[in-house]
Structure formats: C-alpha cells, structure tokens
C-alpha cells in the first residue's frame, strides 16, 4: 500500500493527472456519450475525468512515463503489467494505433511489444478523438475498448467500487511470461536462451537480427544444464524478489564454470544482481521515460536511454568480482553491472530502444 501512497504524494505535489477522455458535445469530434470516472488515491484524493476506453473499474499501482511518443509500444510493454500508467505528454492518441497483429519476417509483432495491452489503466490529459497517421488502423479508444479488462482514464466508475490492490504483491512475471519454449530465428548460428520475464518483441528482434537462434523460455525454466552460446535475462514487471526461482536458476549458472556470455536488461539486471548476492530496493518514484541520461563508467561517455523500472540494485551490496558498469547521471542510481572476469554484462535501461551501445555488448 505504501507504494500507492508514494505515487499519490507525487500526484498531489504536481497535479499531473488531470485527465479528460471525451468532452460534452453532440459533434463527432466531441462525443458526449462518454462516462465520467474518478481516479481515487490511497490518501483519499479523488480526481474526476472521462473515460475513452473500456468502462470498467480497476486498480493498480500508479506510475508515470515522461516519453514524448510511443504509446502503443508502452501500453504493450509487459513491464507495465498491473500498473495504471500516467503519461506526462499532454495530448495522446494523435497518430492512432497501428496493426497490433501484423508480424515481421521473424514472426515477431511488427508495431507492438506484446500481444495485448498490459497496463491496467491509462491516464491522459487530453485525448485526440481524431487521429491522423498513414500507419494507423484504429483509434486508441477503439483499441482500448476492444481489449476487455483494460480500463482507461479512471480507476473507479460511480457504480463500480473497487478495492486498492498492490500489483507488486502478485507474481506479475508469471502472468506475462510464455508458458512453453518458443524459437525465433531458427537455424541461426548462435543459440541464445532468453528467459522471458516479460520480454519485449524488439529485444528478440535485435537478437535475431544479430544471428541468434532465440529460445524463449518460461521465467522459471531451468537452463543450467542446457547447451547454449549465450544467456539473456529479459525485462519484466514488478518486484524482482517475487521471481526467486529465476534467481536460483541464474545462481546455478553463476556458481558453475560455464563461460558463455550472460546479458540482462532491466529486470534481467536486477535478477543478475540478486543471483550474484546483491540486494535490490524500490525507488521512490521509479525511472520511466525516454530521456534518462546514463554514464558508462568504463569510458565516461554519456548517453540518453529509455527506461521503465521501479526497483534498482543497491551497488554497495555487490560482492567481490562484480562492479557497477552504468550509473544514472541524474539520481546516481545503478544502471548496470558487470563481472570483472566473466563475460557478464547487464543494463537497467533498455538499449534496444537506443541505437549504439548494444552492438558490442552481446554479439556472441
């Protein structure tokens, strides 16, 4: 519950979540037929708005993202599972929604990061009822209405009271992970095991493009005796401490003499830290957006990254032979670790959303 309270203290400080889905009018650009709903925070704050999505009450952890574009990608990012997402970008829906089923040549979804909308709710300041984009097939509103169980623009409808739920107490990873192993890029020379804690399509695409045969395995799959050329621990939602099986599997590998490279992103970074013996903690607000500056501590170079995480590794608890690799230039939190002897690197941010650094880091 304390998590929601923190989010709410943020909201009352900045008042960021004024939201209006639809407005009152008989014209098509301003439909009057939208339901009003309230955002209720744990501290009792109640803010009124309109729904432009599926009209059903929901609850979740309130988080915000400061990215300036990319709502179809963000809404389908499994890391947002169970969360009510607030976009600080004020006007949303402008370019509609591209095809959510079209696949690329690798069999991966072309325009979205997973098969469905992962957030529990979405809060925006101004919704564009009329979208305009050559690549759009539907409006954001239509998409959200079609995705039953996804609720937008409010927490609670007048006649539908709903309890506060802290999604971080659930094993969200298990909810979004594949149930059986899937293979992408079959026949490629390097076999890479990808542990699916809530993987984004683009991560798999980046691996396949670099000649990897990706074996996407469930989050709790034990790969310690499998043959592979590389191991990749994906991103995912929620508290890393909730997916202890994944930590134990990884620890088996770390404790063995296996020399294949290991790479982790986001949740993968935290799980690697935990497996190595370090501790993680919850950040007061989390870092979510496309503008997070990160410094590579090996050469001092800085770059801008896409991020979405609420937890971080406590650097001070890193055991010997491990060191911090990246650091956030703003709040100085850990952004990645490495092993000083083995080819093990992880990143807290999402390099797949950023061009450069991936190239050298995990060509196997």
């Amino acid at each position: 519950m304390s998590l929601i309270l923190r989010a709410s203290s943020f909201l009352s400080r900045k008042g960021k979540c004024s939201f209006c889905g639809a407005r009152l009018s008989s014209f098509t650009t301003r439909p009057r037929k939208s339901l009003s709903a309230s955002l209720v925070l744990e501290d009792g704050t109640r803010l009124k708005g309109y729904s432009f999505g599926h009209n059903k009450s929901t609850s979740g952890e309130l988080v915000f993202n400061t990215g300036l574009t990319g709502y179809p990608e963000t809404l389908t990012d499994p890391s947002y599972r169970g969360q009510i997402l607030t976009l600080t970008l004020p006007i949303v829906g402008n370019y509609g929604v591209p095809s959510t089923t079209e696949q690329d040549k690798y069999g991966l979804l072309k325009y979205v990061e997973s098969e469905k909308v992962q957030v529990s709710g979405l809060l925006v300041q101004d919704y564009s009822h009329n979208y305009s984009h050559w690549n759009a097939v539907k409006s954001l509103s239509e998409w959200l209405q079609a995705e039953k169980g996804t609720i937008l623009g409010k927490i609670e409808f007048d006649d539908q009271p709903v309890e506060f739920v802290d999604p971080n107490k659930r094993n969200l990873t298990a909810e979004v992970s594949v149930k059986e192993t899937q293979i992408f890029g079959k026949g490629n020379p390097y076999k890479v095991i990808v542990v699916d804690c809530g993987v984004k399509q683009n991560m798999i695409r980046n691996l396949v493009m670099r000649n990897a045969e990706v074996h996407l395995v469930p989050w709790n799959y034990d790969y310690s005796d499998d043959i592979y050329d590389g191991l990749f621990i994906s991103n995912g939602p929620g508290d890393p401490a909730m997916v202890w099986d994944a930590v134990l599997n990884l620890r088996k590998v770390l404790d063995s003499n296996r020399s294949q490279p290991i790479f982790g992103i986001c949740m993968g970074n935290q799980l690697t830290g935990l497996a190595a013996g370090a501790k993680t903690y919850k950040l007061p607000l989390g870092n979510r957006g496309h503008n997070q500056p990160v410094i590579n501590q090996l050469n001092g170079q800085a770059f801008i990254t896409s991020q979405n995480h609420g937890y971080a590794i406590d650097e001070k608890t890193l055991p010997s032979k491990w060191r911090s690799l990246f650091i956030n230039a703003n709040d100085k939190t850990n952004e990645g670790i490495m092993h000083t002897e083995k080819p093990i690197f992880t990143a807290q941010f999402h390099p797949e959303a950023f061009g450069g650094p991936t190239d050298t880091e995990f060509s196997v």
């Binding site: 900045k14 179809p72 970008l89 004020p90 101004d126 009329n130 410094i295 450069g356």
Partner: protein
C-alpha cells in the same frame, strides 16, 4: 562496451572574442541577442575575459555593466577589416562564431580562409571551420551525408528537355522543375509524368538556359531537431519540432509546434538517431539544428539542412523546453563536457539529458508585410517574418489560440477576421487562399471551417496534417455551441470547455454579445480560473528550481505558492516593425534594476527571441499573453504590488488605462495622463477628425500637405502625408480600419524642417535626466527610420533652449514620473511638438549608452520611489556627450522583400538599427552605415537628381569627380553636370531602353556601378 573515444585535452582560453550579429534584419533578428547574452554569461562564469563586437546598440549583450556582461564592447561593423583590427588590438586566445548568426559565421570563415585567425593564433571555439564549411557547401554536405548513407533531396541541373526527362527518371516522378536564376519562381512547376515534364521543361528553358530537376517534396512534413554535442562525443537531442505548414514554407515563416504531434515512435526515433549520426559525423561541437522532410505516408525522409550555429529555431527550442541552449553551447565550445554541466533549471540534475514536455508549445510568426509597399503576401522558401511569439498550453487548441492573440492583440483567437489593415479576405477565392501559403492563410482556414469545408477538403488544398485541422475544427464547433448561449445560460462545464480550448473572455463575450468585463466576472463567479504551471524541463520528474511559468485551464492545482508580492514588468511582445530589441533592452534594464533594489520581479512576455524571457533574468517569468485578461489573472494571482507598463513599448502601454480601471497599481506616470497624451487631439495644434468632410475642411484651412495619424499606434502604422484631397480620402479610409475606437489626428505637414528627439525621465513632473538627439534627415521620415546624431550638430543654442523649456512644461503638465519621449520640429527658430509618448522609446538604449547613464534604471528607481544619484543629466546640464559623437542608423531588410518599394515615408519600414561612435559626426556616420551592410564604392557612381535639388548637389558631384570616381547619370542630370564641367556618362532608365546609352540596371548588374545616388521627384 562503448567505442573508446579520444577526449581532447581541455582548452586554454583566458581571453575570448565573441562576434555579434549586428543590426536586426529579417532572418537575423533578436534571437542573437539572446544567444550572445547567454554565451557571454557562460564565458564569464568560467572567468574568461570576454571581448564583444556588435554595433547593435539596442541589444542587452552590448551592455557594459554587470558581472554577466562582456569586459569590452566594440560598436563596429562585423566585417573582416574591423574584426582583424580588434584581434590585433586585443589578441584574444579564442573566437566564438556561432552566436552571431550567419553574419558572424561568414565573417569567421572568411578570416580563417585568409589566414588571419591562424596568423594571430586565435583558436575557433566550438565547431571547427571544416565542419562549418561542410554544412554550408551543398556539395560537400551531400558528399558527407552519402558517406553515412543519408541523403539530401536529390536535384540535377540540366540544359535540354531530353536530359530533363532522363534526370526525372533517375530521381523519380513527381519532380519539381525550377528555372535557374529566375525571379519569384518564374517557370517552375510540378510534373507528375513525362508528358507534363516535357511541357514545363520546354517553357522553363525559354526563360533560362539551365533548369533544375528536383525531387518533389510537396506536402512532406517538415521536422527539426536541436542537437548538442561535446568534444568527448556525448550527443543529445534537446527538442524536436514539427511545422504546421508542410514543406515549402521557410521554417521561420511556419507555424511550429513542439514537441512533434503527428509522429509515431518509429518516426520520432528514426529521425533522432539520424540526427545524432549526422552531427557526430560532421564533427559539430556545441549546438546545431537539423531539418528534415518526412514523407507523410511512409518512413521516407531527406535531410534539408544542418545549421552549425545557434539559430532562430534554437532560440525557440530553448524557450520551449527551458534548456538554455546558447549557454550550454558556449560551455561546450570551451571543451567542457556535457555530463559535467548542471541543468540550471533543476540545479541538481545534469545538462546531459533530453527535456520532456508536459505541455505543447506553438510558435506563430509576425509578418508586417503590409508595411512594405507592393510586396506580395505569399510566403515560401525565403523568410519574410520580422518576429514571432510562443504560446504554451496543454491542449493544441489552447496553445494555438493563445499564440494567435499574442501575434496581434486585436485578434480574438482562431477567427476569420484579419488583423491587418491593408488586407481583407477576398470572397469567392477561398480555395486559392487555402492553396497558396500566405501570411493570412490561417484566417482563411477559419473562414473555410465556418463555411463548412470538411477537414479532408482543407487537407487536400493545404496538405496540412489532418490532426491539426481536426483540432481547429473543434475550436470552430465550440464557437458554434457558445453562440447559442447567453451570459445567464452558460453552464460551468461549457465555460470550462471553452476556456480549456483557449477561448478568451473577449472572444466569448463577443460571441454572446456582452462586454469582456461581464464575461470575466461571470467566469470568476463560476470559479473558472486558470492554473499556474511550471516549465521544468523534466515533466516534473524532479523538483524544479525555476520559476518559468504559464497558465492553463487544463489542470487541477497551482505548481507553486504566491507569497512574493513582487512588482510586475510587462515585456514587449512580438518583435515587429516599430517594436524591436530596444524594448527588450528597456525591460531587462528595468528588471535588473528592480532586483538590485531587492524587489521581486514578475515578468510577462511571450517573445522567445528575447533576453527578458531568459530563465535567470527575473524571479517569476510568465510566458503569457499581454492582454488585459491574462495580465489581470497574473496580477491578481500573484497579488503584485504594482505594474510597470512603460518599458515594453506600445503593447503594454495600451493596457495602462484598462489595467488601472481594474484595480492595478500602475507604477509611474498616471494612466490618465498617458491616455491624455495618446489622444493627441487634446494637445495643440492638432485636430481630431471624425469624417471626411471634417478632414477636407481642416486641410483647406491649413493648406496641403497634411499629416494624418491614428491615435494609439506605434511607428506610424497607417500614418501618411497627403498632398491633395484624393490622397487624403484614401488615407482616411485606411486609418479608420487601423483604429476605429480612436479619432484620426490631422496636422499641417511642414516641409524642410529639422527634427529633434528628446528622451527624458521625470520624477513628479520634474525632469531628472535628458538627452537630445538630432535627425540627419529632414522631418517627414519616420523617427524609427531616421538616422540620429547625439549630441545635435546643426541645431542652434536657442532652439535647444526652447526644446528644453517645452520638455520641462510637458513633464509638469502630465505630472510625469517615469520615461518619456518627445519629438520636435525646428524651422525658422520655431519649435513645435509633433509627438509625445509617456513611455520608454526606441532610442532609450542608444542615448543611455552614448551618454553613459542608464535612463531606464533611473526611470525604474523613480517608479518605485527610490532615491536617485545626484549626477544625472538634468535640464541644467550641458549637452552630452562631449568629445565624441554617437550615430544611430536604421537597418532595412529590402533584399528579403522582393518587389517592395524602398522609399521611406512617415510609416516605419526599418527592421533594426545599429550605432557607432567617432570623434566626428562623419567618422561615426561612415561606421554606422557600414554596419548596416553599406560597402564603400570603389569604381563608378550612378546619379539621378530631381531638378529642384540639382544646384545643391553640384559641390558633392564635383568632390566625387575629384576623388576619381567614374560618374554616370540619368540623362537630364548628366546634361546638367556636363554643363558645369563635371564629366558624367548618360544612362537610360530601364523602362525606356532602346536608345544608344546603357541602362541603369545593366550597369548595376555588370558591377560597373557600386553606388547609386537617387533623389527622385515626390511623385515617382
């Protein structure tokens, strides 16, 4: 693990020369005062001795006092010779070229090419010269891009129809055909297929021997990114912007929004990554701007250009995001790395980040094309606007309507009524008005929506993205709903909806037929009030220290508390003809004085090109409308102690009485007195006329020529001299359109009189500081276009005494406490007042810097009742300065305005000014003239003098002859000169060609003539 990058060693640069941009002209305006000022602040913070060259005396950067100012300022032209001279004297270690626009950049490149910089060991700071050249030279630029797999819009030059077809097939249809060297796009045309191409190319080749076949980018989106990169290769994009107008309109003439609104994640990041790639490859160090053309229906794009310097766009991006681009760029130029620089708005995070916006910014240009006679209102690839405004909102509708009002305070919002007096929307040609981009197209779109054009129809005609048009459509729909309301029937929800879509009280009042005040009262009664929001560069992710603010109805609470009770200072609004950087200087001077006195300042301005809107100039900056409604909103919310309205020019001055009537404590001279001085009819010898008969009668009494001017206008808008009854009638009609609420004032126009300008400050009706300057031109040229000399050179002691006496009386009569400016005519020992404004005038920075006393600082102290120093130049002190002469000369933008008639009249046409100093008036004048771009003649001079002035000109002609110039003259003049034994070759007027003699145009084109002296008849 990241590429190893060789980080260059830190620079050693204890002394740095900064080049300014000179006088303001179209395409190179106030934004370079902002960039230069910030750069100097950054250099001073690093304890670098800073030398500035800039003849723009009205700029803040040329101030000599203060910790954040340059150590030495040279008021000299930015030309090779002068820069070399300064380098020789000062021996700087480094030179900064990127802060003074194209002028500084070009001058620096020339100095480098001539080896001057190398000879004196001056290092170019920031982007190296080779990189600058790569961005300036089309061919090198295209080659550089090819190296990294990027491209510019393909274009091929051909000389036959067959090669045109071949070129088109290489590039791919549709193609645009352009005739090379043809004026005004003559002979250009869009070709969809070979047949059309053969036809257009055939025609174009009859006009020009060479034609260009270009890839057609018609209807493509225009997108820009602002990028910074340090010497260690850290590189971020600070802001991206999207043009409302599709490609084809110069970005300076486009409506622009930030951040982009119609780009998907894929498009946004594709262009962002390209920007980083290109900037790294070119080796930019500091700031640059990259412009793209993006296909509206695919991921195809071309790079249009890269500007390796601070630009108009970077000033906008800086104000739109709160990221001080010029400041950061200067630090990067010194070799400091991006992660080591603090984000000055949060004071705790790094400058190495990309701002996130939780609002939308709209920029709209200000044109003033109606001020230039005979120029076309169409806009295109060459920039014509003179200024711009920036509005912040949380819906596009709110931000857009705010911006429209900011550009022209007389406009209500997104409406079809034009702000300009010389133009009207023509009926029946709406489709044409929509098709062709012009300075009035946005009003035509409003008209079309009101006439039930669909969004698709308008899109087909304009190629403007439907997303923008849908939003505009929504504004029109809300307007229709509001029209059915009455003051009593307005529900809170509907009122809030309209306000959230950016409707003003006056606009709503007009729709339902009530006064603005009644509408405002009803709104406040219903509890519909705007919220104050902070711009913090981080979308509130980290707490901001900045007080960079805007108001919106799309919010839930204020971002800050209001317990400062500061003094409000109203800024100048958009730069336009008659109100330029000089009023920003006045505002900055006022704000700095107040802060020095320990008074909190609340500044309202919305001009992104200004220094007064810099993040560190005031305590609270409202990037807001200078309207009665918004100024009251802010004043009441902030609970200010008082408001200064006299330092921002005419826009804030016009608010004096309405603000005062609404309970605002207007500091300084009483608004009633300001009003009395504005209603010119109340001071003799003027007559207010309300009908044509009135005017004709008055003219008959005093005789022609007569001067007409509307009250409450700045810089002679619709001001004219009528030489007969027909002209008088035409001018009256025009004046009535400018200002219906106030009468037109008429007076006898006096020919051959000298004009004297008095800038002064009074306290409780007593003059405490004054400066007298003289116009070089005789009365009749607008004071903003005139050349000023300080101290006067040809005015008699008696006249000066009379001027002082009149000034004393005026100060007393209007009980002036603050700045004021009076213009006098002097003829035959007679002194007449022709104009008096109880506010700061455009000559305040010039006289302040020339005399060495900051008049605005004095006026500010008067207004807040602070004791004055006793060394001020009051009326009893002799003329100042002594030992040197200051000259202020106007800067015109004629080359930008093809077809415009450059003849000066009482309506102002200059876009900027410069000032230089010299031991004599002539030395100062020559420097000032050269600063405006004048080149000294070397070969031939063409002379054309009207008959009445020929005798007076004879000695001058003789001197020119003796100096060894070849003289050419129009036939009558040549004959006259020859008769007096001055050899002059006759030439013909271009329109009368066919004779034996060469025509004037040919001589100019062939560069036989490098100076033309033309004193035509009154009616030519």
């Amino acid at each position: 693990m990241g590429k190893p990058f060789k980080v260059p060693p830190p620079l050693r640069c204890p002394k740095c020369l900064v080049l300014g941009s000179g006088g303001l002209s179209i395409g190179q305006a106030g934004e370079f005062d902002y960039s230069g000022s910030q750069a100097i602040k950054a250099l001073k913070e690093e304890k670098i001795k800073t030398i500035l060259m800039n003849p723009n005396i009205a700029s803040v950067q040329t101030n000599a006092e203060g910790e954040k100012q340059a150590d030495v300022v040279y008021f000299v032209p930015i030309t090779q010779d002068f820069v070399e001279d300064v380098i020789r004297r000062e021996r700087p270690d480094g030179i900064l070229l990127s802060m003074g626009g194209q002028t500084a950049l070009n001058c620096g490149v020339e100095l480098y090419d001539k080896g001057v910089l190398q000879r004196y060991g001056v290092q170019v700071l920031g982007t190296p010269i080779d990189s600058i050249k790569a961005t300036e030279d089309r061919q090198i630029f295209a080659d550089k891009l090819t190296e990294i797999g990027e491209k510019i819009a393909p274009s091929l030059a051909v000389e036959t129809v067959e090669s045109a077809v071949k070129a088109a097939k290489t590039i791919g249809f549709p193609v645009m055909v352009r005739a090379a060297y043809a004026l005004g796009g003559l002979g250009s045309g869009l070709c969809d297929d070979e047949e059309k191409l053969r036809e257009v190319a055939g025609q174009a080749l009859t006009l020009s021997s060479q034609i260009l076949i270009e890839k057609s980018l018609l209807g493509w989106k225009e997108i820009e990114y602002e990028v910074v990169r340090d010497a260690a290769d850290n590189c971020v994009t600070v802001c991206n912007m999207e043009n409302f107008d599709p490609l084809g309109v110069h970005t300076g003439d486009s409506v622009v929004v930030a951040p982009s609104q119609t780009l998907s994640n894929e498009e946004y990041h594709m262009l962002r990554e390209t920007a980083l790639k290109v900037v790294r490859h070119l080796g930019i160090v500091g700031e640059c701007n990259i412009q793209y053309a993006l296909h509206p229906k695919s991921l195809e794009y071309c790079i249009i250009e890269v500007n390796a310097r601070l630009s108009r766009s970077s000033a906008l991006a800086s104000k739109a995001t709160g990221y001080p681009l010029a400041f950061i760029a200067a630090k990067l130029a010194l070799g400091i790395q991006l992660p080591d620089i603090k984000n000055s708005t949060t004071e705790q995070t790094t400058a190495c980040f990309e701002p996130s916006l939780d609002y939308i910014v709209t920029k709209i240009p200000r044109w003033d094309l109606d001020r230039f006679h005979m120029t076309s209102k169409q806009i295109g690839s060459s920039m014509k606007s003179v200024g711009e405004v920036m509005a912040i909102g949380r819906t596009f509708e709110e931000s857009f309507q705010k911006a429209l009002r900011m550009v022209h305070p007389s406009v209500d919002g997104f409406v079809s009524k034009l702000p300009s007096v010389h133009q009207e929307l023509s009926d029946g040609r709406l489709d044409d008005e929509l098709c062709v981009p012009s300075n009035t197209r946005v009003y035509s779109i409003a008209k079309a929506l009101h006439e039930n054009y669909s969004v698709d129809q308008i899109h087909d005609l304009t190629s403007i993205d439907r997303w923008f048009l849908h939003k505009l459509h929504r504004i029109v729909e809300i307007e229709r709903d509001v029209k059915n309301q009455t003051l009593g029937s307005f529900q809170r929800q509907d009122l809030l909806e309209a306000k959230q879509a950016g409707f003003s009280d006056r606009q709503l009042g007009r729709l339902i037929g009530v006064q603005e005040n009644d509408m405002r009262n009803e709104r406040i009664k219903q509890g519909v009030k705007p919220w104050v929001k902070q711009i913090d560069t981080m979308a509130a992710e980290y707490p901001a220290k900045t007080n960079y603010l805007y108001m919106t109805y799309n919010g839930q609470e204020h971002d800050l508390v209001f317990d400062d009770q500061g003094v409000m200072v109203l800024g100048c609004g958009p730069y336009h003809i008659g109100s330029s950087v000089e009023f920003d200087w006045c505002a900055v001077s006022c704000i700095r004085t107040l802060r020095k006195l320990g008074i909190n300042t609340v500044v309202v301005n919305h001009n992104p090109e200004t220094v007064s809107t810099d993040y560190d100039e005031c305590d609270r900056l409202y990037f807001e409308e200078l309207s009665l409604e918004r100024v009251l909103d802010i004043y009441q919310q902030e609970v200010c102690n008082g408001a200064v309205i006299s330092v921002g020019g005419q826009i804030p001055n016009n608010l004096a009485l309405p603000l005062s009537n609404n309970g605002v404590n207007v500091l300084g001279t009483s608004p009633l007195m300001i009003d009395a001085a504005e209603e010119r009819s109340r001071t003799a010898p003027w007559r207010a006329v309300s009908s044509v008969d009135d005017a004709l009668n008055f003219a008959a009494t005093v005789g022609y020529p007569c001067l007409l001017r509307p009250s409450y206008v700045l810089s002679g808008s619709a001001m004219n001299v009528a030489y007969g009854p027909v002209e008088l009638k035409t001018f009256l009609e025009e004046a009535a359109r400018v200002s219906q609420d106030h009468p037109v004032v008429m007076t006898k126009f006096i020919e051959g009189a000298r004009e004297i300008e008095m800038d002064a400050v009074a306290k409780d009706g007593k003059v405490v500081a004054h400066a007298i300057s003289e116009h070089v031109e005789n009365a009749g040229v607008h004071s903003g276009d005139a050349t000023l000399i300080l101290p006067p050179q040809t005015i008699s002691e008696e006249d000066i005494a009379q001027v002082k006496e009149a000034t004393r009386k005026i100060a007393e009569r209007f009980e002036i406490s603050g700045p004021f400016n009076t213009q006098f005519l002097a003829k035959n020992n007679n002194i007449m007042v022709i104009e008096c404004n109880l506010r700061a005038s455009r000559s305040f920075p010039f006289v302040s810097k020339t005399v060495g006393t900051d008049f605005i600082s004095v006026a500010t102290k008067v207004m807040v009742n602070y004791p004055l120093e006793n060394t001020l130049p009051d009326l009893s002190t002799p003329l100042q300065p002594s030992g040197y002469v200051g000259i202020k000369a106007p800067m015109f933008s004629w080359p930008r305005l093809r077809d415009a008639d450059p003849l000066l009249k009482c309506e102002m046409a200059s876009t900027g000014e410069v000032a230089c100093f010299g031991a004599t008036a002539h030395a100062a004048f020559l420097k000032a003239l050269m600063s405006t771009g004048f080149r000294l003649p070397k070969k031939g001079i063409l002379i054309g003098i009207q008959q009445s002035l020929q005798p007076k000109f004879l000695p001058t002609a003789n001197k020119l002859h003796q100096l060894g110039f070849t003289l050419y003259a129009t036939e009558a003049t040549a004959q006259y000169l020859n008769e007096h034994n001055i050899p002059a070759e006759p030439v013909e007027w271009p329109l009368h060609s066919g004779g034996v003699n060469p025509t004037a145009t040919r001589l100019i084109q062939d560069k036989e003539v490098d100076l033309v002296i033309n004193l035509p008849n009154q009616n030519t």
